[in-house]
Symmetry: C2
Subunit: 149 residues, 2 copies
DNA sequence: TATCAAATGAAATTTAATATCACTACCTGC
DNA sequence: GCAGGTAGTGATATTAAATTTCATTTGATA
């Protein structure tokens, strides 16, 4: 999906909600789409300052929430203080393994786990809207290796 | 496992760490074991005040962390502001479905999902220490039902 | 272009969690 | 049992993410 199309979809979403399409919202969405990986609002704000020093902190907070509502971002936690966001467009659904030592994040996806989740939800007549699977532990670099002796 | 044994295990854990077993720590652990479900530190503190008005807020925070370290509690988030804790003793490992409308929490466990998680982790040579699977959506009461027409 | 409600940005506020620090009490050795 | 050192406690202050407030600005519509 082209950046152009995403911006248009966002504009449409905003219009449909009876809201206003502002320069700030566009700039923030662009910056968010440019940033890769899992960003905090703070990090996004810092990036934005370079090109758009006028944009306020509150607006970034407000807009990332709007982007999330529009379905263009996913909220993540990773057991840190600040929440992180990740773009959904151009990114297949996946879950995360977080190394508690080096903080490295490994992305994985398991259709079989996804399927079992819907099975469980069905059993409880629960309608899944989102889910979050986070595995914490030690990555292959940080885990203790077998002694050579 | 008897309360008595849990307290003893906690005492042992504390001793092994070279720490001190205090009245407060025992009182907080007892209150935590008595509380069922998923409690916040605030909620736990409020319960404690009834019998132990002297115990400070900071101590409850510090001790719940100690209880967690001792492996007697699990930390949960549920996308709320405050973290929640759940006892591990006398509770089989399980994951959670959270209704975003009524905030009801449904516990479930799926050995098959657990197994698939270890499979994925093995593939990445990742050593699992803990994990968290949270499904958000609408419970059977809150989800929209089929129209009668 | 005028209108006006929505949006913005700076600052204040909220709130969970942590840090500080004088005082207390647990533990060890005697 | 008693004393000494020292980890733990509790009141308070602080931190930091996130939200709210509000005067001012700006986008959409006519
Ligand atoms: Mn990711
Ligand atoms: Mn539970
Ligand atoms: Zn690592
Ligand atoms: Zn519900």
């Amino acid at each position: 999906m082209e950046i152009r199309e995403i911006l248009e979809a966002f504009r449409q979403y905003i219009k449909d909600k009876g809201l206003r399409y502002t320069k700030q919202r566009e700039a923030i969405l662009k910056a968010f789409l440019r940033a890769d990986g899992h960003v905090t609002v703070e990090e996004l704000y810092m990036q934005l300052r370079k090109k758009h020093p006028g944009i306020g902190f509150s607006t970034v907070y407000r807009t990332i929430k709007l982007i999330e509502d529009a379905g263009l971002a996913t909220r993540l936690s990773f057991d840190e203080r600040a929440e992180r966001f990740e773009k959904t467009v151009g990114t297949d659904h996946h879950d995360h393994m977080v190394c508690i030592r080096c903080r490295r994040v490994i992305e994985f996806e398991s259709p079989r786990i996804e399927r079992l989740q819907t099975e469980v939800a069905d059993k409880y007549r629960f309608q899944i809207l989102s889910h979050r699977l986070e595995i914490f532990g030690l990555c292959n670099i940080c885990r203790p290796h077998k002694s050579l002796v």
